[in-house]
């Protein structure tokens, strides 16, 4: 049995079944299906929302309420973190409901997946999974209002119709507002799913228009919007925690005598240590509870703590990189093999090899992790900016010893998520400290230093590629070895290999027309907490593959765009399983095959709009990259100028995107604008390093993120039009990120001839210029 299989069994033994379902949703499904002892292999595979814990719900009584004054309240069960879900999801319901948007109020669901369906806001799938259920909610509520009006007037329901917040009976000219009908409608049975009449797309009022103002726009602009860190309760106390700087470390000794003397300090509380692979359990630490945040921070600084670092105390990113490189230069576990790579390489006219490095990165959400909890009469209430409400509820319940029914999780706005806030460790901390204070409300705040030191970091990768070109300059052989610690390491014994959902992010599922291909995944052990970061393993895989294709094009003396299109080959539908991708972002391979025609179209669009092929002034260049992820297709062209001192300016970015039909095109655009900035930010300066097991970056002066003066003056988003609403929806939040870094480095190469293979770019260009100018 492989170690990975062992991991799955361990997870099954030690956690509840619902957790296994969550791991399956991440890509453990097929793996587990190979192990009949773990799950029943005869169960048909479930895809999309069906494959998520608690699946989907479409009961209008859970999602829609109409007041006597006509106010329509729509419940949003997914978390708002900037992707616009609190606008987009209600907009779908309101449209089918024929509601007037100005009379719609949006309210946030607490954690309750039995009622609302899956609430994990990640994987770029909220709209993809809930477009249809939300339409059905709206349509069912609309039909109930129509029925209520028909009954009131004593006319057949076929003679009435809902129109913009009223039901009208055209024959008699009678009208009744939704408020007047609400009570009667609420007493009617919910129409069965099969009887629902959905609108035709031509009747859409809000869907696809992109004209709906943001649900929280005014509250944000006036400071009223409530994030997790803004949560308040009567008698609330404030806590910060000194956590073990090394994963798995323990408190050897703590002297809190100085801290305790600071006026306003209420209690110093040690928190238990945890082993590696402890999921979202808080780290070992010493909490200071005080009457305000500032006092808590000051008192924490006064703690004297000796840590017992444990085995990860030797983790050093520099020497770890050398280990990864060694692993990448030797054969590893084969994930996919087609043809005969070795034979084809031996016969190749040109052999090219390159190795790429991508360091750990931190999410650095502008709102650091923070949560408020109180326990009253055996009921725990939590206010948290969480991407995973139900996981938060279950984990808090487990840690404070209550049943999940006795835990209420209020989901606040998230000041950024990017995957960090899928892990509810900070909410568990708040609940544990509240319990410590006899149930009093305690708000835990992470400082920026805490956030950067104790993140669930994006993995660290060495990507090794080799290829052979035949006499005509075509790629005849391709080898890709990816060496990166797995997110699986936080769920139990370290699998030391990338899981199906990680390799399915642009490693094995290479949609290229290459006859001899081998993809390998040598071992890599985790020494810090590895977690999802917006677009996850697509970041290293896309960077390596898209950089390498540009290198091959240059070696073959070909135009990069033409070379890439030729490599993709003709428009065709590829079964992901035929590429060794058993995951396919959790979606059905029939409904969501890989469509190389769509990949070609985004490349053609981005290059056309960027006027690819135009003559560039010296020191300037255009770079291209394209990537399929989250069942969407993205291509980017970055334009740069590099001066003789190696100073880099990004002058323009064109990004073309095909996610199928777009429910709220304005938020799709904003997600892509943001993905461009975040992608550039990571590529230019994103790096967390470790020494003696400790993250070395403390705050934004050391972990730099892009500021307005470095942001490109022009970002052009090109959405591929789609009015065919029978087409399945693609993901939006993440797929913009992966092509940005390689497009940038390809542009730098075009401008300077310098190939950047190590992320981040930082001062590499300036260093080269310095040595060349010397």
């Amino acid at each position: 049995m492989t170690e990975l299989a062992q991991t799955v069994i361990e997870i099954e033994k030690t956690t509840r079944r619902v957790f296994l379902a969550r791991l399956q949703a991440l890509g453990g499904l097929v793996l587990a299906a190979n192990l009949p002892d773990v799950v029943n292999a005869s169960e048909p595979a479930k895809y999309g929302a069906d494959g998520m814990p608690h699946g989907w719900k479409d009961n209008p009584l859970a999602f829609v309420a109409i007041g006597n004054d006509g106010t329509v309240t729509i419940v949003v069960h997914r978390s708002e973190m900037g992707q616009g879900v609190r606008t987009g999801m209600p907009l779908i319901v309101a449209d089918e409901l024929e509601a007037d948007w100005t009379k719609v109020r949006v309210t946030q669901a607490t954690a309750e997946e039995e009622k609302y369906g899956n609430q994990d806001t990640d994987g770029s799938r909220s709209t993809r999974h809930f477009f249809e259920p939300m339409r059905r909610c709206g349509a069912a509520a609309r039909m109930m209002l129509e029925q209520a009006a028909a009954q009131t007037w004593g006319v057949p329901v076929g003679q009435v119709r809902a129109l913009n917040h009223e039901v009208v009976h055209e024959a008699s000219g009678r009208k009744l507002g939704y408020g007047a009908l609400a009570q009667r409608a609420a007493r009617l049975p919910v129409p069965p799913r099969a009887a629902l009449r959905l609108k035709s797309p031509a009747q859409f009022r809000y869907i696809g228009k992109g004209e709906t103002p943001l649900a929280d726009g005014w509250d944000i602009a006036t400071g009223k919007a409530q994030y997790g860190i803004d949560s308040r309760a009567e008698g609330m106390l404030f806590a910060v925690i000194a956590r073990s700087p090394v994963l798995g470390g323990k408190i050897a000794s703590v002297d809190s005598s100085q801290a305790a003397k600071i006026p306003g300090v209420i209690k110093v509380v040690p928190l238990q240590s945890v082993a590696q692979g402890a999921q979202f359990q808080p780290l070992a630490g010493v909490a200071v509870i005080a009457s305000d945040t500032w006092i808590a921070i000051k008192a924490r600084n006064a703690l004297k703590i000796q840590w017992d670092d444990g085995p990860n105390g030797t983790y050093d990113s520099q020497s770890y990189r050398a280990e990864q490189q060694q692993a990448a230069r030797k054969p590893g576990k084969v994930l996919r093999a087609t043809g005969d790579f070795d034979g084809a390489l031996a016969k190749a006219s040109r052999k090219i090899a390159a190795e790429y490095y991508l360091p750990h990165i931190a999410h650095a959400t502008m709102e650091p992790p923070a949560a408020l909890a109180r326990i009253d009469n055996n009921h725990c209430e939590v206010w948290a900016p969480t991407q995973a409400p139900q996981v938060t509820r279950e984990d808090v319940a487990k840690h404070v010893g209550l049943a999940p029914e006795n835990v209420t999780v209020h989901v606040t706005l998230l000041g950024g998520g990017f995957g960090r806030k899928s892990k509810p460790d900070f909410a568990i901390e708040a609940a544990l400290l509240s319990r410590e204070m006899g149930g009093k409300p305690v708000k835990v705040i992470w400082t920026r230093e805490d956030d950067l030191h104790h993140d669930f970091f994006h993995t660290v990768s060495v990507e090794h590629l080799e290829a052979g070109l035949d006499q005509r300059g075509k790629v005849s052989a391709w080898l890709h070895r990816s060496v990166a610690p797995s997110i699986g390491s936080i769920f139990g014994p370290d699998p030391k290999h990338e899981l199906p959902f990680e390799v399915g992010m642009g490693l094995v599922n290479l949609p290229y027309d290459i006859p001899n291909l081998r993809i390998e995944n040598p071992e890599a052990a985790a020494h810090t907490r590895i977690g999802w970061f917006r677009s996850v393993s697509n970041i290293p895989h896309a960077f390596a593959v898209q950089s390498f294709v540009a290198e091959l094009a240059a070696a073959a003396g070909r135009d990069h765009r033409d070379f890439l299109l030729e490599l993709i080959g003709p428009a065709r539908l590829i079964d992901p399983a035929s590429q060794g991708d058993t995951w396919n972002h959790g979606e059905s391979p029939q409904i969501y095959p890989v469509d190389t025609g769509r990949l070609r179209r985004v490349i053609e669009t981005a290059t056309r709009e960027a006027r690819w092929g135009r003559k560039m002034p010296p020191g300037s260049g255009l770079g291209l990259a394209a990537h399929y992820s989250f069942v969407s297709y993205t291509a980017a062209v970055v334009e740069v100028a590099v001066n003789r001192n190696g100073e880099l300016k990004i002058t323009r970015v064109d990004i073309a995107f095909d996610c199928g039909p777009q429910v709220n095109p304005d938020r799709v655009r904003s997600q892509l604008e943001g993905a461009v900035v975040m992608g550039l930010s990571l590529a230019l300066t994103g790096e967390i390093t470790f020494k003696q097991g400790r993250a070395q970056q403390d705050n934004f002066h050391m972990y730099q993120v892009m500021r307005i003066d470095a942001a490109p003056p022009e970002i052009h988003v090109h959405l591929l039009p789609s009015t065919d609403w029978s087409m399945p929806l693609g993901g939006v939040g993440e797929p913009g990120v992966p092509p940005i870094a390689p497009a940038l480095c390809n542009a730098i190469f075009a401008a300077t001839g310098r190939r950047i293979r190590q992320m981040p770019v930082k001062d590499q260009l300036a260093q080269t210029a310095k040595s060349e100018n010397a």
Binding site: Q226, R448, N699, F700
Partner: protein, 154 residues
């Protein structure tokens, strides 16, 4: 200690070294001003002190006696502040929105000295405010939109 916040006199009792940020947030419940870094590196906590943009996370409350503090909760009372807030809403600037209060406060300070800022002015004045979601293109556009409106009457 007496503070003047958004035109109102407010009594607070906090130790002298307490940054204004935590007085606003923890003592007064004015949570519109955000914590982002604690080192004046990100701008999320920006307020106006006598009209100038100040990072409240490093400004001891004891240094503010007799000075006029304006926060995101009060900036809309000025024509410039309101124009900025309206521009932010009209252009759907925010994504997560967490940094936007600080962005608007920095923009208000910018427009006070440069009613018609150039791109260079905007970049210089706003470079202290990080937006992790990457709303910079829309921030630039919203400042120009607000400047266009207030410019006509100033």
């Amino acid at each position: 200690m007496d503070l003047s916040i958004n035109g109102q006199s407010v009594q607070v009792s906090a130790s002298d070294d307490t940054p204004l940020l935590w007085v606003l947030r923890d003592h007064l419940g004015m949570t519109g001003t955000k914590f982002g870094c604690g080192m004046a590196l990100c701008g999320a906590c920006t307020v106006l002190v006598n009209g100038e943009a100040v990072r409240s996370c490093v400004t001891p409350v004891s240094s503010l006696a007799g000075k006029k503090i304006t926060t995101i909760e009060g900036v809309g009372a000025t024509q410039r502040g309101k124009a900025l807030q309206e521009a932010w809403v009209a252009l759907n600037v925010p994504q997560c929105g967490y940094c936007q209060a600080g962005q608007i406060m920095s923009a208000a300070a910018l427009l006070a000295t440069r009613p018609h800022p150039t791109d260079t002015d905007i970049d210089a004045a706003m470079a202290g405010n990080i937006c992790r979601c990457g709303t910079y293109p829309r921030i630039r556009a919203a400042i120009k939109r607000a400047a266009g409106k207030t410019g006509e009457v100033s």
